[in-house]
């Protein structure tokens, strides 16, 4: 493989693979921006989204693109429910940031094994008819991959525009920066929070679905994504949506590059080492 070929395939495959990641990282970082804690339970939004979509698609027999819609919406609802039932009361009780992470691990276990109890432990595959193959700069790409990439990018950038360009996004940022001041200005914190948690869950659910399409759906789906999501969010500075988008693409490309040269496991290891190095040298608030 020539270097030019290597570079080309790295970038194309890397971008294709990073699309769901970018989407997930944006959703993840939204919650961090608003509430200031790392929500490990976010993983299960992805898992549940994928399970609902695969059930509608492969078991009930709906068209893939139609089954995405209710699945993603429900994933958003789940996210709001975890916020209202668990995280908001916990924050009101003054649970510290480290304990909030542990709490979110509890939520993650509860949801993941709840999903296992409903769906069992087997793998599910999406059923997508009429996939077209075509070559793009010498690389084989399927139409599904392209559509998913397009979808993911539109939603990721849509969320970005929502936060920085709309009135609602502005109130959200005000609330994140100073809740008391925002309330004095007449912002209803619950209403804004519910919208943010819904959008975040929606993005997570879609990310789970797009990940499931290219592999399979099992209960570990979200769990396997969450560390990389966390990593992308922290590299792109947590809470920064722009950073999450750029870091998502970067992480996809680096993983692909290492994987092409060696094997997938080393891609993960390289990424984690880079991640620890970034934590160390930037001393970011994770």
């Amino acid at each position: 493989m020539t270097f030019a070929m290597f570079l080309k395939s790295t970038i194309i495959i890397g971008l294709l693979e990073s699309a769901p990641l970018m989407l997930a990282a944006v959703g993840f970082t939204l919650i961090f921006r608003l509430n200031g804690f790392i929500n490990i339970g976010y993983a299960e939004n992805a898992t549940l989204g994928a399970y609902l979509a695969v059930t509608l698609n492969a078991i009930i027999g709906w068209n893939f693109y139609i089954s995405i819609i209710p699945a993603a919406l429900f994933s958003g609802v789940l996210s709001v429910l975890t916020y209202l039932i668990v995280f908001r009361p916990a924050m009101k009780r003054g649970v510290g940031p480290t304990e909030m992470i542990i709490l979110s691990v509890g939520v993650s276990f509860f949801l993941r094994y709840g999903i296992s109890l409903i769906w069992g432990s087997r793998l599910y595959n999406f059923d997508i008819a009429k996939t077209h193959y075509f070559t793009f700069y010498g690389m084989g790409i399927t139409s599904t991959q392209l559509i998913c990439l397009g979808f993911a990018l539109i939603i990721a950038f849509g969320l970005y525009a929502f936060i920085y360009k709309t009135k609602m996004g502005e109130t959200m940022r005000a609330l994140a920066d100073n809740e008391e001041l925002a309330m004095i200005a007449g912002i209803n914190p619950i209403k804004v929070s519910v919208v943010v948690w819904f959008l975040s869950g929606l993005a997570g659910g879609l990310a789970g679905i797009f990940t499931g399409v290219f592999t399979w759906v099992n209960t570990g789906l979200g769990w396997h994504m969450i560390l990389v999501i966390l990593l992308v969010a922290i590299i792109g500075r947590v809470g920064d949506v722009r950073g999450a988008l750029i870091a998502g693409a970067g992480v996809g490309i680096i993983t692909t590059a290492v994987t092409l040269v060696t094997q997938p496991a080393y891609g993960v290891v390289a990424l984690l080492v880079i991640f620890i190095a970034i934590l160390k040298f930037r001393k970011v608030r994770a």
């Binding site: 790392i38 668990v86 009361p89 916990a90 009780r93 649970v95 940031p97 480290t98 304990e99 992470i101 542990i102 709490l103 691990v105 509890g106 939520v107 993650s108 276990f109 509860f110 949801l111 993941r112 094994y113 709840g114 296992s116 109890l117 069992g120 432990s121 560390l227 966390l230 990593l231 922290i234 094997q263 496991a265 080393y266 993960v268 290891v269 984690l272 080492v273 991640f275 620890i276 934590l279 160390k280 001393k283 970011v284 608030r285 994770a286």
Partner: protein, 311 residues
Amino acid sequence: MGQILSGYYIYMLSILVVYIALATILHAQFGLTGIANFGLSAIWGFGMYACALLIVKLNIPFVPAVILATILTGVISMGISRIILDLDSQSVLVGTLAFLAIIETLVISEKWLTNGVMGLGPVNYPFDIGTYTKFVYFLIILIFTIVLLFYARKLESSPPGRLFLSIQDNEPLSQSLGKSTFRRKLVFFAFTSALAGFFGAMAAPIYKYLFPKYMGPAITFTLWIALILGARKRIFGGLVGVVATIGLFDVVLETVVPIPSKYAGILYNTKYFLYGLTLILVLMFRPSGILGEKARSINTANTGKIQKMEG
């Protein structure tokens, strides 16, 4: 009787005792010092795999292998603590979790060394006295765990223990009093991690064949759930928590109550489902755990004195 002493029951009890030791180490690291170590199972697993590799690949006898594995784990932990421990607690948590993922991935991918998911072994018991081998080994581990509990108890009332509590309350204040908080934490983390490596090495013959899942994130989270449930700031918090979670599910339910193998998967899922629920409920309604929070004896003694003086 002989069958009970050599069978599955004693195997489960041995694992339970090792988990109690690990949860106590977690208490020392998190409850006492405030280090949110999410990589504990990897540190433990490192000791376990190091010991097994020394025995299986290099034919080193058991006792020196355990000692070497303990030292190696301590050295590795010193490295991790140098890199991670001076960060804030959320970064420590995420960094140790990343370390866990690195170790787990490498144990699975480096098949030439660890045999990957096929399992590494066999690691035999260091002695063979027939039916009672497993039982005697269980007693040895039990003694080490009791010693560890005594150490944890002594630690809490010793000058370094009080310093750790003060670091947790207000690190800048401790630093301003001229205490080198970072170096203390570093050495303490490496030492307690070496202990975790020691218990890992000791656990190798119990498992006989080692698999990557024995050191995976599920183990770390189970230990965390146990400690939070028990009481993170109490010496016996780990013990109570492990008995209430792993003891109840893995020992009592799986060995005493006969469950058809058809439902084994459902039981497994239910177990973690309930662990998650328990963790949520404890953190929300009783964050100090079953045992609650003990009033620190030093403080009460002082307030007593002050009250007397005022009176």
